[in-house]
């Protein structure tokens, strides 16, 4: 159950790296500036993309005299990562890269990120901090239901939990009934998964006659998709644990960029000794002051293999600097409230409407008019794809039309890894628009 008060001793236990997480502002900023100058110099010398971007912007690494000079540096966009696919943004020879992860891309090409041995160590450290901030510690058993593989969630948590000294159960996603059995028999105390999967687990446990609250869970570290305070309350009361929000993205590192502390559960502490966060106006690119909502931008200060300067995440949030009662001096970001582009996150998977469109366009029989309806049913995200029928494919036999729906469903699942329901609809029923077509109705805004 969520607790109101923690003793001082408990609180200090929850800060994994007290030296860095509680640094006075001036000391932290001194570290940031030194690291930023080193980074700018390094990427300018090594990564052709950054040499060109700096030159076009008319800025030299030496121009960074203080942190206020950061906005002089160019942005890095997702498209830049695609243009340099697969390894063009790497700032170290491949022989130093010990791990590669990837996120899904809009054109079928993923965004590839690399890690040196030191990067993996940093990531593990930051994930250990993350888990500690959530209230986990050595001796905990971590049921890690984030997906393992190219996705950064599973392995990110795995290494962090090991670094913390906890016991990790690398269960990954899926096979929910079996997960319930393992949770009960192994006595896990910490669960790590997406918020929607946490609720799914609670539903399946109930069906199986297992009382989730009687299990040993104390903490849930949940993320990889946007969620609300209402969902947190529901998860906490149904699962009987403290649920905290985490933030990360593979381009910047993976999970472990920011986390809520279990004491306050109010904003996510950004590990600023490794990342500088900015909020900008998504239209103009202009930096915004603390407290004003806008697009999150990250600069990685310590990454060796895949450093990024001012990476535009497209995630909308807000930054706060008020001190937190947990004792950390780090800037906090608010929950992600949306996207400055049209990307959807469906069951933790990034989906762009253009990806669905490319699937539909590849099937000559259907018209390119479609509408995506995203909803949440029984705690899981659902995706319905409405596609207009035309005379070429129309058949008076039900099974022919159902086969077309099934084939498109399979194509989408193959490309995006997301299952959906395709519905054929009457021609001209999907709204046409002169300007930007409305391709998405997202009903999950609760």
């Amino acid at each position: 159950m969520a607790r109101e008060q923690y003793s001082l001793e408990e609180v200090s236990d929850m800060i994994y790296d007290e030296e860095f997480e509680t640094l006075p502002r001036e000391a932290l900023e001194a570290i940031q500036l030194k690291r930023l100058r080193d980074l700018a110099e390094r990427v300018y010398a090594i990564v052709p993309f950054y040499k060109k971007a700096f030159d076009e912007q008319g800025v030299k690494p030496d121009d960074i005299k203080s942190l206020e000079d950061l906005p002089k540096l160019p942005f890095t966009m997702k498209q830049d990562l695609r243009d340099n696919y697969p390894f063009g943004m790497f700032a170290t020879p491949m022989e130093n890269v010990v791990r590669i992860h990837a996120s899904s891309g809009t054109t079928g090409k993923p965004t590839v990120v690399g890690y040196t041995r030191r990067d993996i160590r940093t990531w593990s450290e930051l994930m250990a901090r993350t888990l500690a901030a959530a209230g986990a510690h050595k001796g905990d058993i971590v049921h890690n239901a984030y997906g393992y593989g190219l996705f950064t969630g599973g392995l990110g948590f795995h290494y962090g939990a090991e670094r913390l000294g906890a016991s990790v159960i690398p269960v990954s996603g899926g096979n929910t009934k079996r997960q319930i059995l393992l949770m009960r028999d192994f006595g896990a105390t910490v669960i790590t998964c997406t918020p929607s999967y946490a609720l799914r687990l609670a539903d399946v446990a109930a069906e199986e006659g297992v009382d989730f609250k009687a299990l040993k869970f104390r903490v849930g570290v949940l993320g990889a998709e946007p969620w609300t305070e209402n969902i947190r309350n529901e998860i906490e009361s149904r699962l009987g644990l403290d649920a905290v929000d985490i933030y990360g993205l593979s381009e910047v590192m993976g999970p472990g960029v920011a986390v809520e502390c279990v004491e306050a559960k109010h904003g996510l502490h950004i590990f600023e000794d490794h990342f500088i966060a900015e909020i900008i106006n998504p239209e103009t690119g202009e930096p915004l002051p603390y407290g004003e909502p806008g697009e999150l931008v990250f600069t990685t200060l310590t990454k060796e293999a895949f450093p990024l300067i001012r990476y535009r995440t497209r995630d909308l949030s807000v930054l706060h600097r008020e001190p937190c009662r947990c004792g950390r001096n780090l800037v906090r970001m608010g929950r992600i409230t949306g996207r400055s582009d049209d990307m959807l996150i469906i069951r933790g998977v990034n989906v762009f409407p253009s990806q669905i469109e490319s699937v539909l366009m590849a099937r000559k029989e259907v018209a390119p008019h479609y509408l995506l309806i995203v909803d949440r049913k029984e705690r899981m995200d659902t995706l319905e794809v409405n596609v207009e029928i035309n005379e070429e494919i129309f058949s008076d036999a039900v099974k022919d039309l159902q086969n077309i729906e099934g084939d498109i469903e399979k194509d989408i699942k193959d490309l995006l890894g997301v299952s959906c329901r395709v519905r054929l609809v009457e021609p001209k029923t999907i709204q046409r628009s002169e300007g930007k077509a409305q391709r998405v109705i997202d009903k999950r805004k609760t």
Partner: protein, 143 residues
């Protein structure tokens, strides 16, 4: 010995079926027989009407997706076992019925059954060999 049937794609939304009948009535098209196949999100309305061309034109003008299929109309005595004897003939020869629907004529003595077969020619031949009364299109349109 083929009968032309038109089919219309309908979303499962209130008022779509009414819209079809309104359009047809406005054009003076008379519906001879109909069947509606539906799933949870769409339906296929199959119609035999007295004027196929006019029906198709007006429906398309109103934005409906319209298809055309050849079906077979069989006349059978309206008594117990009438349909069964026909299905027996077909099943013995492994003729697959894609779908079927029936209506009773004005006189009430005979029923007309509409069949959609995969292999329409073989089916018609088989039915005629077994003395089943297969109706001409023009007969059905004006029944």
């Amino acid at each position: 010995m083929r009968v032309e049937q038109i089919s219309i794609f309908l979303e499962n939304k209130a008022g779509r079926l009414a819209e079809v009948t309104r359009v047809l009535s406005g054009a003076g098209v008379n519906i001879r027989a109909l069947s509606l196949a539906d799933t949870s999100d769409f339906g296929i309305l199959r119609l035999i009407v007295n004027d196929n061309d006019k029906a198709k034109t007006v429906l398309k003008e109103h934005g409906f997706t319209v298809g055309k299929t050849d079906v077979v109309a069989v006349e059978v005595e309206d008594r117990p076992g009438g349909l069964s004897s026909i299905l027996n003939i077909l099943s013995k020869q492994n003729i697959n019925v894609e779908y079927m629907y029936a209506f009773v004529q004005h006189s009430g003595k005979n029923a007309v059954i509409i069949f959609r077969f995969d292999d329409i020619d073989t089916a018609v031949k088989l039915l005629q060999e077994n003395n089943v009364k297969v109706l001409e299109g023009k007969t059905v349109y004006t029944l």
